[in-house]
Symmetry: C2
Subunit: 248 residues, 2 copies
């Protein structure tokens, strides 16, 4: 637990990252399987006194995925008193997840800042932290038991992601560099948990002007080869900034 020099950390505030990946048409989240406890937890951490909160989130993310330059966004502060379970810190000490010296740091009321991140599944090499035995992906529709209110945090992150689909381009961090329209449609369908009309989807997504067709096709399948695309980075960023559907 050398990383936890608690004197330099803000007290009573934590952050938790809901890290989304996309693989085999599954929307997955990266979770830690805790030592000695049959429960999972979101990758999270604390904020150093001299550290921007966004930077702390980015550090946590980097430690668990090995990746930098990740789409990362604060989405909610969970501030209910009831999210703190009496005896939680005791349990952490009893199960030897943390040392007794950290008991007083953990045994207090916490609010936590929820971040969600979008990462390219294949590029991630999940790394467990000091209090977990495994770091792995779980299907969002088949989540394991989770500590505290982490399940609620994940569900709320998912809702936020869904609503962001309407205003922001999404996918540059969730898809490989080259992809077909079917790939990106599957991503949207997975996030939204519903089927979209293939022809209308193509028209709409191409209309956003954030894709560039490549001089390449995906061959090897017993079907007509599909056009490959990549994101147009500058257009994508412009769309991120300006939004896609302005009302009023």
């Amino acid at each position: 637990m050398s990383l936890l020099d608690t004197k330099n950390l803000m007290q009573g505030i934590s952050l938790d990252c809901v890290i989304f990946g996309f693989h085999n048409n599954d929307l997955r989240v990266l979770l830690l399987e805790l030592k000695n406890i049959k429960l999972c937890a979101l990758p999270g951490g604390f904020i150093a006194n001299d550290e921007d909160v966004d930077l702390a989130a980015s550090r946590v993310l980097q430690n668990r995925t090995g990746m930098t330059d990740i789409f990362l966004q604060q989405f909610y502060l969970f501030g209910k008193v009831s999210r703190n379970v009496p005896g939680h810190a005791d349990r952490l000490v009893r199960e030897k997840l943390i040392g007794k010296d950290l008991y007083s740091f953990f045994n207090r009321r916490y609010v936590t800042i929820g971040y969600y991140a979008l990462v390219e599944y294949t590029k991630v090499n999940p790394l467990p932290d000091e209090i977990s035995v495994k770091c792995d992906w779980y299907n969002i529709n088949d989540l394991p038991g989770l500590i505290l209110d982490h399940r609620e945090i994940i569900l709320q992150a998912h809702e936020t992601l869904k609503s962001h689909l309407n205003f922001k381009p999404i996918g540059i961090k969730l898809l490989p560099a080259k992809f077909t329209l079917r790939d990106i449609q599957s991503l949207y369908e997975t996030i939204l948990s519903k089927k979209l009309d293939r022809r209308n989807f193509r028209r709409k997504i191409l209309g956003f002007n954030i894709l560039n067709a490549l001089q390449e096709r995906r061959t090897g399948l017993a079907q007509r080869p599909a056009q490959l695309y990549k994101f147009n980075l500058s257009q994508y960023n412009r769309a991120l900034h300006e939004g896609l559907n302005q009302g009023w």
Copy 2:
């Protein structure tokens, strides 16, 4: 400063409320004019250890406006280190805004949770708190000097409010009980800082089905009397919950 029993407060976390009101076609925010310092500040406060964060925000709001049942929404956690100005706590003590006993509570790094609220201007009786001489409304386009990053917080609240206009019904807390379509259009125009076509606006807002026409008109003006409306509470709440423009 009897209210600040700092032992019971979370440390390093504050909250600030951007309270919007609408009057004379102005979008205004409620600000405190600080004692001895020629700067204003957002109404804000701290969170008791046994208090939900939302409840703390609601308490602050009630103390400044005398109102309960206010639309109040968390919109961002401001977590940059740079928002803490060195010497700020010293200044508060020097200018006698706080006692020396509170110095150590204030002299630390803070993150603050931004809330925005919508209130009916005429119903508010602004009350200064212990560290201010006045609590008053300021036009959002003509803000006075503000401490710390409070100006940025206000601007971001305004951006959030603008974007919420596209998905959520707004107005029930900003307008009097009876209002004309012109009134609500002015509200929208003011929030968005742009003119809307009167005829199209009427069609659109009526199409939301959140208004009920009254058997009353606004008379006394040298023009055709305008139909008065009130919000249909149940429809309004349904729209709040379901959103107005669902994409995808």
